[in-house]
């Protein structure tokens, strides 16, 4: 067991995979000397050279388009998108090429591309630096979408994503980069697409992922003081979703609240709700409730804490579901 920040755990994962496989390349803006604006690639260019840790010309479409070509040539590119709000220029390459190429080639060409995206708010940033675009990618067939909530998952899920022969959109909760945690570098690791019960409870199931897992745990602790036992699930994988684990918990609690930062409408919460009400219809004692960002653009940072789901808004939903 080693104590690491999430940033350090991600850096170690990249280093590990690069040492393990010379076909693994890191590419993005400022990932070289600077080590990325969040220092996730810190020191990698020094140790692996400029042709394996590539400062890309300034274009996200170029980064993903080049990644496709590298994959065709047999490489495993790990692309860094500097901030969530800047992935959109690459959206066409991701949706039409990265996600579809393996299928188009009838499985003869693999797309082992990992796209790392620091996402979410709460860091007091300017516009386009606090977004949660995960639903766009989860709705895109051919992609796998995952997100980590702690240093251990950050490390192992990134390693698994890089090892995966399919394209993985890897969302990193940037506001948790500096939180420390235990990482067992020897493994073993949980399967990439498996959800995890991070706090057991019998009254209400709370599903969260990425930056909201810590908030959900705070809410669970607060609820415990009121005598309500919340079971907190870290979804970890958004596509595919580990529906069984969620349904199993709901069968027990009969109540479900889904939490995420992204605008609530057409978000991941909608898919979770749709699946659970179908798979656990008779177990539900209350409708699935969703707590998320509002259906507005991400607000000015001085009021982002009001806009983002917090302990109070989660508890408010918990009270509502218990009131049924």
């Amino acid at each position: 067991m080693t104590t690491m920040s999430m940033a350090g755990a991600l850096n170690a994962a990249l280093r590990d995979r690069m040492e393990h496989d010379p076909k693994v390349l890191v590419m993005g803006l400022d990932v070289g000397k600077l080590g990325g604006v969040f220092r996730i690639t810190d020191g990698l260019q020094k140790d692996f050279g400029e042709d394996r840790v590539i400062d890309a010309p300034l274009g996200e479409s170029g980064i993903l388009g080049a990644a496709v070509g590298l994959a065709i040539r047999g490489y495993r590119p790990v692309c860094e998108i500097q901030f969530d709000g800047f992935v959109y220029p690459a959206f066409d390459q991701i949706v039409c090429q990265v996600a579809k190429f393996h299928n188009r080639s009838l499985g003869q060409v693999k797309m082992p591309i990992t796209v790392r995206i620091p996402y979410g708010g709460g860091i007091g940033a300017v516009e386009h630096h606090s977004e949660s675009p995960e639903a766009y990618f989860a709705h895109t067939a051919g992609l796998k979408v995952v997100t980590c909530a702690n240093p251990s998952d950050a490390h192992w899920m990134l390693r698994q994503s890089i090892d995966c022969d399919d394209p993985v959109i890897f969302f990193e909760p940037k506001r948790r980069y500096w939180a420390k945690g235990e990482v067992d570098l020897a493994g073993p690791s949980t399967p990439l697409h498996q959800a995890r019960v991070v706090r057991p409870g019998r009254d209400v199931t709370l599903v969260a992922y990425g930056p909201m897992v810590a908030t959900a745990l705070d809410a669970a602790r607060a609820a415990a003081a009121d005598g309500h036992e919340l079971e907190v699930l870290d979804l970890r994988s958004l596509s595919p979703i580990d529906t069984d684990t969620v349904v199993e918990s709901v069968r027990k609690t009969g109540r479900l609240v889904v939490v995420h930062e992204a605008s609530v409408s057409f978000g991941v919460g909608a898919e979770v709700a749709a699946r659970v009400q179908e798979r656990a219809f008779y177990s539900l004692e209350a409708p699935v409730l969703r707590v998320g960002g509002f259906d507005t653009p991400y607000p000015a940072s001085r009021i982002e804490e009001e806009w983002l789901p917090d302990v109070d808004r989660i508890l408010d939903a918990v009270d509502r579901t218990l009131a049924y």
């Binding site: 390349l25 274009g59 170029g62 070509g69 393996h102 299928n103 080639s105 499985g107």
Partner: protein, 379 residues
Amino acid sequence: MSLHGHVPPEPDLVQLLTPEGIRVEHPDFPLSITDDEIRSLYRDLALVRRFDGEATALQRQGELGLWASCLGQEAAQVGAGRALRKQDMAFPTYREHGVAWCKDVDPVTLLGMFRGVSLGGWNPNDNNFNLYTIVLGAQTLHAVGYAMGVVRDGAVGTGEADRDTAVMAFFGDGASSQGDVNEAFIWAAASNLPVVFYCQNNQWAISEAVERQTRVPLFQRASGFGFPGIRIDGNDVLACLAVSRVALNEARSGQGPTLIEAYTYRMGAHTTSDDPTRYRLSDELETWRLRDPIERVRAYLVREAGVEQSFFDEIDAESEELAVRIREACRQLVDPNPLSPFDQVYAEMTDELAEQRAGYATYIDSFESATDREEQVAR
């Protein structure tokens, strides 16, 4: 002083064989080629045109859902295709049937996506010919990434003829306006990549004339990015071959990217769904007929190389055989299994998708027979 108003001179275009079939020399691009080689170029041109025409016919007969004909662009494609070495990688659009031919891709392979039985389906690494790319310009960035891999693999500038590798990215005059194509120029220049950008300016992007995209010749675009650009007579297979060879050699030897503008003409419709009479005049077509890429080679062979009629008869016979084979093979292309869409989405299928597949399989089985199904629909 005024920044504007400087009229650039009309660019000269590299030509080695005139429309009349006269062999001319170009000071910068000498080409030593035997008449036998020119005969084999003629053969490629003729077979490609025949196969392309057959595909158009198959679409008319309902065997294909769509066809994008390369009629008129055979020289541009065969010239480039013949300049490519086995190890060189081609990134085509959806119209490079002539390049596919030179890369030994069976024409029938290309029909799958146009018939609607696949989305492409071949392995780009089998013949170093990428899947057709429909989203305009996207493939130019794929070429860039592939070239980055080539460099990292040490397959540039070694001097070994069958090791040094170049990449050729094909795109059209219309696609040149896409951001992706310009980003590809930037990446190729900044990293001095072994990419030859091959733009077939066939004067039209569906109904939009090339003037809608640019007011200066497209080959000039390259100079602004810091690499050479050149315009060639895209209906002159010798010019296309000669200039492509030079550009590919320089790419393989590590001298970086080139932009070649093959000045040609789309003699047919954009695709079989298009009706060009709505937007262009027939006399334009007439003018270009006189510049036909195949006729001039034939004229040369007859007049300058004394090739007999028997040669052309052989080619015609071979073309017929090819057409027959393609027609039959096309009809044999079977529809995919309804469950196949699930099978290649991922290299590692997800449980979720496997479950969805199983559910659909059960659903299909629930219809004992096709007739039952008809009834059910008719209920």
